[in-house]
């Protein structure tokens, strides 16, 4: 099958965001990382009370205001994009914000990644060979959140697998990722290795395996991602 038709079957970023949003359970406190994960917020089903935490001290972060004129320079996402505060939201200072992170209050974090290893090791803060780098809150969040949900394309722009046997990129946190959401599949990280739970419509398990370095086990209840 040629690449063009395969690309057409890959989930869009918005479809991936919608799938991740379904994962967020009513009553959860969830940290949202920078980049692609910020797309998740507007997709949370309306009947669920999911509270979003932003590392810069927002408990109850809401979406960007509809009207550009309502943007507030003191109400930003972790990626410094406009945000809002939900009714009943609160502000905390930075040490308390990370006490929430490391203190076990985050039910989940949605993070982007360069690579995830089959044992759950996460690489998302520094490119290979980069000088210095910028770590931000990634290491604290990956260690602290009860569930680390990674949202990323399945392969790099060059077509290399991002789900790998062992990281070649600098590690953010060991054994931290619990589930991987890509444009091809949903994969659970378990003590017995990676389990292929869901497939994007039109994508086969063989195609996912071919784009993944470690061996995947098929879930007994393998299903199609609802888009």
């Amino acid at each position: 099958m040629d690449t063009q038709t395969k690309n057409e079957r890959l989930l869009t970023r918005d479809q991936m965001a919608k799938r991740v949003a379904v994962e967020l359970t009513d009553g959860w406190l969830v940290n949202i990382g920078i980049g692609m994960p910020t797309l998740v917020l507007p997709h949370v089903p309306k009947d669920r009370d999911v509270i979003f935490h932003s590392e810069n001290g927002i408990v109850g972060m809401g979406p960007a205001p509809d009207d550009l004129a309502d943007n507030d320079p003191d109400l930003l996402t972790a990626g410094k994009q406009p945000a809002s505060l939900i009714p009943g939201g609160a502000f905390v200072h930075h040490a308390d914000s990370f006490a929430i992170v490391r203190g076990g209050r985050l039910d989940a974090a949605v993070l982007g990644a360069f690579q995830v290893a089959e044992n759950g090791d996460l690489a998302n803060w520094k490119l290979l060979g980069a000088k210095g780098g910028s770590v931000g809150g990634a290491m604290d969040i990956a260690v602290g959140a009860k569930q680390v949900l990674v949202m990323m394309t399945h392969v790099t722009k060059e077509g290399d697998p991002k789900v790998v046997k062992a990281l070649s990129y600098p590690v953010t946190a060991r054994h931290s990722v619990t589930k991987i959401f890509t444009d091809m599949a949903v994969i659970a990280v378990t003590a017995d290795g990676l389990v292929l739970d869901e497939l994007a419509p039109g994508i086969t398990a063989d195609e996912v395996q071919a784009a993944t370095e470690p061996k995947l086990r098929l879930s007994d209840s393998l299903k199609e991602i609802a888009v």
Partner: protein, 223 residues
């Protein structure tokens, strides 16, 4: 009662010397006391160690301090960012030293420094390249990193309101590093948007008690 009020950012930063360690609050551009960082640039001090989450937005805040050659070293969690290319260019040219610290660890090191704690044990960073050179300690079979408290000679703070005692409130997420940095320096200097009479701030709403504040000026920063 001690008078903590000075008239301008220039008076507020007077006395900061070459080689001082300076905490600059803020996250992105929110909560950065740019009136004070600009005043330090005018003062022309050199060799500063700056402790700050970011390295400035465009050419403002810490980025201007870098550009004007005031900074020798930066202790930072997110220095390379799309908001400003100043740090990247200077770091790549070997003109500034970097100590990279995970954001939550930076915050906690400052809290520890302000709380009389030498350090603390954490899982953050274990098994990563940021653990290199750090002492580890095993407690109940789990390996932790020892992270040390951080203090500074000076902390630069941006507040929403101040009263004559130096009590402070903040605005929304501009609070960020401000309240903790205000606890962890020998000289705490505040740029406040507005001054209110003593007694006007409800004690329930004061975030930083005035006991931490040495000097303040009223300065309304351009957005």
């Amino acid at each position: 009662m001690k008078n903590k009020r000075v008239n301008t950012p220039a008076e507020a930063v007077a006395g900061i010397v070459d080689g001082a360690t300076v905490m600059v609050a803020g996250f992105g551009r929110s909560g950065v006391p740019e009136g004070l960082t600009d005043a330090i640039c005018e003062l022309g001090v050199k060799g500063l160690t700056v402790i700050s989450n970011n390295s400035g937005t465009a050419k403002t805040g810490v980025a201007r301090l870098l550009l004007e050659g005031c900074v020798e070293k930066i202790v930072c969690s997110f220095p390379r960012a799309s908001e400003s290319g100043v740090f990247k260019e200077m770091f790549d040219a070997g003109k500034v030293e970097l100590e990279l610290v995970p954001q939550g660890i930076l915050a906690e090191r400052i809290r520890a420094g302000g709380s009389g704690l030498a350090g603390f044990l954490t899982l953050t960073g274990v098994g990563t390249e940021l653990a290199e050179g750090k002492q580890t300690m095993e407690v109940d079979g789990t390996e932790y990193l020892l992270e040390m408290g951080l203090r500074a000679d000076v902390a630069l703070i941006k507040a929403r309101q101040v009263d004559g005692r130096g009590n402070l409130t903040y605005r929304k997420a501009a609070r960020n590093f401000n309240p903790i940095m205000a606890t962890a320096a020998e000289m705490v200097i505040v740029q406040a948007h507005e001054e209110v009479p003593i007694g006007a701030l409800d004690g329930e709403h004061v975030v930083t008690p005035g006991i931490y504040v040495d000097r303040y000026c009223v300065f309304q920063q351009e957005p």
